[in-house]
């Protein structure tokens, strides 16, 4: 047997030409996970290698193509900060898993559990009696100036006596074959959802191999997570309300937050969904405040409470810290647990373990030195080129600096920097990570790997996820294993020593599920976003309708001689809220240009389309893939740069395209959204905006001192999408009273004002708190009054303008005031609490 070729089992030599791995040759400098020192495949990889070879490369490639499509369709992404090509990066998953034997995993688990216990006990001590400091196990210099040490949490006691419920530990294999810890994630560790998604994809792609390898299942771990969240609840321990707190769609791991919330069956919330009253946390629902018992947070400590932590955080819940002190809510992991992530503390872990547990640390970290210690500092300065330098305390997004390839001058600079304020630096010995096989194109190559193990509190101890998220470096040379910096991920298989527990959290298809119908409550924040999405999309549509009418006429008319263009242009300027300086007919192409293309014009088309997109992004989890595609198309259909210098006919075509996208969106909302509160708020926004636009249009076109010319009336009917109806009813005779009746009072015309008000009446009657009320709310009163007025209106005898109150113009003016009043009243009643607060009287920044 030579090291040039890989031996697979006992019959490997004769088969090696056909083996997938026959050309796999990892470098000898570091251990390889699959290939042993003797050059043979390690025992626990053999079944996998044999089964993959039986499957054959062609079939594997075919299966993996399907798997990649699955990843894409499931929308698995990892957001990369500062990525100019958009923020969602598709998830990179390798078909080959990383394999661990049951025996090796058991030893590793032991070490992981011990570490987690030490970290949890250390947190309890530092936020409590501080014996670690008093007995000089750790110096005050690593706690008191540490921004991760959150003084407002000192003395807070969690109901379940635990601060660390979920721990993630990044692990690598050292050149001597032992495991060592690269980092501990203690505040809001990510990765469990990605690990689960990876498992689902891989086990579906190669189900028979997965089954025959006897891989431990992940589902039992998530059962532990659910149990611990329930056990953490200070009240209602039988049936606590648990929410998953996310910083929102811009966070790098938002996909995972949404995925886990769905998988575990918890509501996904943002800080703005929660509020504190009388030291209790509530969820802001349209139907009122709903108590929350447990917050499973995926948001960093400091951002969680702008009142007591970072005043400039807009993601937090003011008063949360006090609610924690009062013992009314559990935060998982406890606020303040980020402290244990600081590299400076990591250097003291072996001492803390001895002191707190009376045991030696079984699973060590990479050897690290806190330079605030004089002896360590001397050592680090003497051995600088072998070191990786990190800030001693967590500084967001400041990565470690390798000293390895620096010039003598650069090293001197670093020596000076470190010596100037040694307590701010930690140095780590650089280690070389082991390699594992990764499919790169149609070859199998060695990449350095690290993996993230996950632990969940269970009783007095922890459960270890049998598996985890393995990640590999972007190249053979690179030792950087990070999703932020490229590279990819792998499923991790832990072979089962005994029978595999087939427990699953996903309900089997045959199991009867409780029937649930639309009408459930909705969070105020989501309702607010849907309401504004409805308003923005309708506003954009109104501008496009008017613009299309104008651009279409510009083909054969000009601004000076046309009789209908002035009417349309005035309506457009009102819609876009432009103050027309010039007199009638002076509105020129410049204003038109601005309305269509100026990005800064608040009510112009560009800004409105931008608002459509951003508002839609905020409720993306409520949208079907098709709906999201339309939103994407709207966003890309009409970017200013493309159209500014185009011919009229091109512009017309683009406006037409936009209209069709709007129609598709409206159609999907009408046909595919269940008639719950989400749909109602989207539609309320739309109806309010459409009412206002129709009133504006009629007021501009029908209320002049002289009756408008027939072709102007025709243009108005066309813009109002009512020309066909009108023509069918009245043939060709164009009269103001008939037009007014059709556009304002005709309840069978879906564009008319009366139609909008009638829909609003229906919606409002169904809003929480209104169904069983004997008295009408102010909004209902306004709607009833205005609708009755429209029904009684005699357009034949109503003068367009007059000094008296009863003319059409003054009626429309007061209707417009009422429409905005309705919007205000609804917002105040249901939506106001959705906005983030701002800090006053506080210091501008904290360290």
């Amino acid at each position: 047997m030579t090291t040039d070729h890989i031996s697979i089992g006992h019959t490997d030599l004769s088969n090696r030409a056909r083996s997938l791995f026959s050309h796999y040759s990892p470098a000898a400098a570091v251990p390889d996970e699959m290939i042993g020192r003797d050059g043979g495949v390690r025992d626990h990889w053999r079944t996998l290698v044999r089964l993959l070879d039986e499957l054959g490369p062609v079939e594997l490639e075919k299966r993996w193509a399907t798997a990649r499509r699955l990843i894409h369709e499931n929308g698995v992404t990892y957001n990369v900060y500062g990525d100019p090509d958009g923020m969602d990066r598709p998830w990179v998953l390798d078909a080959l898993p990383l394999v661990f034997s049951a025996q090796e995993w058991a030893g590793l688990s032991d070490g992981l559990i011990q570490r987690a216990r030490v970290l949890d006990m250390a947190l309890a001590d530092i936020y409590g009696p501080q014996r670690l400091l008093k007995d000089a196990i750790i110096p005050p210099d690593v706690i008191f100036p540490n921004p991760g040490y959150l003084r407002p949490l000192v003395g807070a006691r969690p109901a379940d006596h635990r601060r660390l419920h979920m721990v993630a530990t990044d692990i690598g294999r050292c050149p001597d074959g032992s495991f060592c810890v690269l980092a501990d994630r203690t505040q809001a560790p990510s990765g469990t959802g990605y690990a689960l998604e990876n498992r689902i994809v891989v086990s579906r792609a190669i189900p028979e191999i997965f089954r025959d390898c006897h891989v431990s299942r992940l589902a039992t771990f998530f059962r532990s997570v659910r149990n611990l969240l329930q056990a953490a609840a200070p009240h209602n321990r039988d049936n606590p309300r648990v929410v998953l707190l996310t910083p929102g769609p811009y966070n790098e791991t938002y996909f995972e937050h949404a995925y886990l919330a769905q998988y575990l069956g918890y509501t996904l919330v943002e800080g703005a969904d929660l509020t504190v009253r009388d030291n209790h946390v509530y969820m802001k629902m349209l139907g009122g405040l709903q108590p929350v018992d447990v917050i499973f947070r995926r948001q960093d400590d400091g951002y969680c409470d702008p009142l007591e932590l970072m005043p400039d955080s807009t993601l937090g819940i003011p008063g949360l810290v006090q609610a924690v002190h009062a013992g009314n809510v559990a935060v998982v992991n406890a606020l303040g647990s980020g402290l244990m992530e600081s590299p400076a503390l990591g250097a003291f872990l072996p001492r803390m373990c001895r002191y707190l547990l009376g045991e030696e640390l079984k699973l060590p970290s990479v050897t690290s030195y806190w330079c605030g210690d004089e002896e360590s500092l001397r050592y680090v300065l003497d051995h600088l080129p072998q070191m990786l330098i990190k800030p001693a305390f967590n500084t967001p997004r400041q990565g470690p600096m390798s000293m390895e390839s620096l010039s003598a001058g650069q090293l001197d600079d670093w020596r000076q920097r470190i010596a100037a304020d040694p307590a701010q630096f930690v140095a780590e010995e650089q280690i070389s990570l082991s390699t594992a096989p990764v499919i790169i194109g149609n070859r199998i190559e060695a990449r350095h790997i690290a993996f993230r193990a996950h632990l969940a509190a269970a009783g007095e101890s922890y459960d270890v996820m049998p598996g985890g998220l393995a990640r590999f470096s972007i190249s053979t040379e690179s030792m950087i294993v990070s999703m932020q910096r490229g590279g990819g991920s792998k499923d991790t298989w832990v072979l089962s020593g005994g029978p595999v527990d087939s427990f699953s959290l996903l309900s089997p298809p045959g199991l009867p599920m409780e029937i649930s119908r639309a009408g459930g409550d909705l969070s105020s924040r989501v309702a607010d976003n849907l309401f504004w999405l409805g308003r923005y999309i309708e506003r954009a549509e109104a501008i496009v309708r008017l613009s299309r009418g104008i651009v279409g006429r510009l083909v054969d008319q000009n601004f000076e001689s046309s009789t209908e263009l002035p009417v349309l242009l005035e309506a457009l300027s009102r819609q876009a809220q432009i103050d027309r300086a010039g007199e009638h007919g002076k509105v020129g192409e410049m204003e038109m240009e601005d309305i269509l293309f100026a990005p800064t014009l608040a009510y112009g088309l560009q800004a409105t389309l931008r608002s459509v997109y951003t508002t839609a992004s905020l409720v993306r989890d409520r949208m079907s893939i098709d709906t999201w595609r339309i939103i994407n198309r709207i966003d890309s259909d009409f970017s200013a740069g493309d159209l500014r210098d185009r011919r009229l006919s091109d512009r017309l075509a683009s406006l037409d395209k936009l209209m069709i996208s709007f129609a598709a969106f409206a159609g999907l909302a009408m046909e595919s959204m269940s008639r719950g509160l989400a749909w109602r708020f989207l539609d309320i926004g739309r109806r309010i905006e459409r009412s206002a636009a129709m009133v504006q249009l009629c007021r501009t076109s029908l209320c002049g001192s002289e009756p408008p010319p027939p072709n102007a009336l025709e243009a108005v009917l066309e813009v109002a999408d009512s020309a066909i109806t009108y023509r069918r009813r009245y043939m060709t005779s164009l009269q103001v009273p008939l037009v007014a009746d059709l556009l304002l009072a005709d309840e069978t015309n879906p564009r008319s004002l009366a139609f909008q008000l009638a829909r609003l009446q229906e919606h409002v009657a169904q809003l929480p708190g209104n169904q069983h009320e004997a008295r009408l709310t102010p909004v209902q009163q306004i709607l009833l009054l205005r609708l009755t007025e429209l029904r009684l209106m005699e357009f034949n005898t109503l003068p367009a303008i007059a000094a008296k109150e009863s003319c059409l113009q003054s009626r429309l003016d007061s209707i417009l005031v009422d429409i905005f009043q309705i919007s205000d009243l609804l917002s105040r009643r249901y939506l106001t609490h959705a906005a983030p607060g701002r800090s006053i009287g506080a210091s501008a920044s904290t360290r």
Binding site: L133, F144, P145, G319, H833, A842, A844
Partner: protein, 301 residues
């Protein structure tokens, strides 16, 4: 023995209604040596349920929420304090300052551990090498710590000019050092930065000054508003309060409300509001002899 009646009123007026506000106050005085408090009350309008807890420095932190729309918020703290005279009025012999710095860096005993909390940089207390060199002029080798600290406070008082309104709550020490002007809060932060830069422990004290000076004394800067001064750790004595704004020690007219690493730990009132538009805030402090009555018409300008 002197008994004073204190009133501290903070009044916010908003342009638009605030729908919800969450607030955090350090307005109920802490326990501190020489102070005996009675009749402590905190009035909040509109009325709000409140919770008071002890923070990690032993201050009383009050948290309250108002969830009815309001255009004004009035928070008034009233109390009576019986103030003991200072423990000593003559400078006592103290250790050389370097010995104290070494002690603080060594193995912490219970008391020193409490002091250790106050020797690091904090949100408002940062220093440059230049500030450290400036501080060292008061700290020649072997000088007793109390004498050196008083000399430093004197230099802050004479080298810097008190200019009301010249800074705000977020002004940093380096900027004050450069501009040579500030208010009591800035002088406290600067003095603390200087003391910490040479390895000593110093904390920020927030409180009040007696409005009317005792007969023969002159009115001090900082009366009519919250005042701030510093406290430096001196092993032979404990914590030694010094007022750099008025270059004073010992402190006879100073009433302690709270202490922390700097202003951010003890800000009298701060909050997170929804709505409100622009706001105006007025703050008024009265400290009068217990047998006198407040002039109820007065509210600070």
């Amino acid at each position: 023995m002197a008994v004073y009646r204190i009133r501290h009123l903070t009044h916010y007026r908003y342009q638009e209604a605030v729908t919800v506000c969450h607030n955090l106050a350090h307005l109920i005085p802490r326990d501190s040596p020489g102070h005996t408090w009675t009749q402590v009350e905190l009035d909040i309008t509109p009325d709000a349920s409140r919770t008071t807890r002890l923070d990690c420095f032993g201050n009383r932190t009050t948290v309250f929420t108002i969830d009815e729309p309001h255009l004004e918020l009035r928070v008034e703290s009233r109390s009576v304090v019986d103030l003991a005279p200072p423990r000593t009025s003559a400078l006592f012999p103290t250790s050389p300052w370097e010995a104290v710095a070494n002690l603080l860096r060594g193995k912490p005993e219970d008391e020193w551990l409490a002091a250790a909390e106050f020797r690091f940089r904090s949100p408002h207390v940062d220093w440059t090498e230049e500030i450290r060199r400036w501080a060292l002029q008061s700290f020649p080798p072997g000088r007793p710590i109390a004498e050196a600290a008083l000399d430093l406070a004197g230099r802050v008082c004479t080298e810097f000019r008190f200019v009301s309104g010249s800074t705000n709550v977020s002004t940093q020490v380096a900027e004050v050092f450069e501009r040579r002007t500030g208010v009591c809060q800035d002088f406290a932060h600067l003095t603390i930065a200087a003391l910490r830069s040479v390895g000593l422990s110093a904390r920020y004290v927030s409180g009040y000054l007696v409005t009317q000076p005792p007969p023969g004394g002159s009115r001090l800067i900082g009366a009519d508003a919250s005042h701030a001064w510093i406290s430096v750790y001196v092993p032979e004595y404990g914590w030694m309060d010094i007022d750099p704004t008025n270059h004073l020690w010992p402190l006879e007219a100073h009433i302690t409300v709270a202490w922390g690493r700097d202003f951010s730990d003890v800000s009298p009132l701060r909050g997170v509001i929804l709505g409100g538009g622009k706001h105006e805030v007025t703050v008024g402090v009265d400290v009068i002899p217990a047998d006198a009555e407040f002039d109820e018409r007065s509210e600070a300008p």
